[in-house]
Assembly symmetry: C2
Homo-oligomer: 255 residues x 2
DNA sequence: CAGTGGTCTAGACCACTGC
DNA sequence: CAGTGGTCTAGACCACTGT
């Protein structure tokens, strides 16, 4: 299984080894779940030092192509099943029968929720800007972590002006049928539209732990702002999603 | 500048050094553009071997917090100016005066375009599925790279059924005023809506090179499908964006 | 127990920057 | 020229897996 490298290519050895392994993965020579040759084997295959082959494999891990388990080996990553977040997932018709938005997202399968924190706090600069209130205004914060099939799927933090949330089930762990948006509409604020700003970046160490992210997996960050029929902001939701588990699907108008 | 580590924490030394440096960045002790202490200084600061401090800095590079220049040093990354891609950027009103969608995206500043390839080819399985045609059907492919202020911003590949593109300016490098969508409407296919599927992942080596991406920067991939008033697909555009240069902005209906 | 990947060290040569 | 980060080597100990 000796593999030859090209000394005249000018590329560092670890890049050439990574390219060789990547090509084996992309060509199907190494399939999903297959074990890579061990470090000692790669050392022999390519005639390189251990740190060098480790650097090559580290590159593939950073690209999200490979993961490693201590004591077992390194393996070709399979893409996990992907959830589609549809642009109309907050449409009223999905709430009428008491189904909250997240179970719509999950295609009807019931997700479990780990409520991290529910309570009042002072709005940060960022939250105040989103809500259109002054910094330090009292707001309700609801931080949750959602699981599907035992896997952590998303971290969500909602902010609602305290004047709107006070005395309602929004301040409880269980917001009741239809979720937080049903409670907001009961308060006389009919929802008209949402804006959603999407960014992507590498996770912080905290996020990587909370979402059980493999190395090399970016996260989506969604900032969703809910407006009522007066075009006032009634809620903001800051969501972190594992990018390898979601496709975000939107519809754009042509006129 | 000696920094003490906690041997009882159980964390590997390189993680502790990375945590220490990350904390210095987040606290503002190290500002945007500031130079990190050199490897030799970090070796002295933390009493670790060179590979160990390099592993710590590599972690911060993978997180996108730091970049390095050979011969100069390692620096705290500043976020580049961000472009906002609005959900209505393909609305007809933005085309009426001969302005193509991309200059709308860029806030009116004129981007430059590097046309990589324009010509007919057979639809791949993926392209055929998007266009709703049989695999191998003749389609026009237009691959471009867009620059703003000299920086590569996005890679875009459009596919149009050949029956629609043949004999029009779409098959030329310059598609003329209003761009490709104006040409499609001239062919009698009024555009009604677009769908856009958003994913994020780490770039391939090719993409990282073409977009001049710093390590640790994920990319967005947009698959945008254009439908005419008969709900037939008239074009598909596969776009790769540097995720640190864009905010994608959408509007979601509440009913 | 042998084999795996994870961490760490000490030392070397290189290409590049800036003085 | 000295100092920087980039690459590479040889060797060590560790924690964990599977038999």
């Amino acid at each position: 299984m000796v593999r030859r490298l090209d000394p005249s290519s000018g590329l560092p050895v670890y890049r050439q080894i990574a390219d060789s392994l990547r090509q084996q993965i992309e060509s199907g020579e190494l399939g999903v779940g297959d074990q890579l040759r061990s470090e000692n084997q790669l050392i022999a295959d390519y005639g390189a030092a251990r740190q060098t082959v480790r650097q090559a494999v580290a590159l593939l891990k950073a690209e999200g192509l490979v993961y490693a388990e201590r004591g077992r080996g390194a393996f070709v990553r399979g893409r996990p099943p992907v959830e589609r977040l549809a642009f109309d997932r907050f449409a009223r018709r999905h709430r009428k029968d008491g189904e909250a938005a997240l179970s719509v997202e999950m295609g009807g399968r019931l997700p479990t929720v780990d409520v991290v924190h529910v309570g009042p706090e002072k709005a940060s600069v960022e939250v105040a800007r989103w809500l259109g209130v002054r910094t330090g205004t009292k707001v309700l914060r609801r931080s949750r972590r959602y699981f599907a099939a035992g896997e952590p799927m998303e971290l969500a933090t909602s902010y609602v002006p305290w004047t709107l949330a006070s005395g309602t089930a929004m301040t409880q762990e269980d917001t009741g049928p239809g979720g937080i948006y049903a409670r907001i509409e009961e308060q006389g604020h009919e929802l008209r539209r949402f804006t959603e700003d999407v960014t992507a970046r590498m996770p912080t160490p905290d996020e990587a732990r909370a979402l059980a992210l493999p190395t090399g997996t970016p996260v989506f960050r969604l900032i969703r702002i809910a407006y009522d029929t007066d075009d006032d902001v009634v809620e903001v939701c800051d969501t972190i999603l594992a990018s390898d588990r979601y496709v975000l699907s939107y519809e754009l108008p042509a006129d």
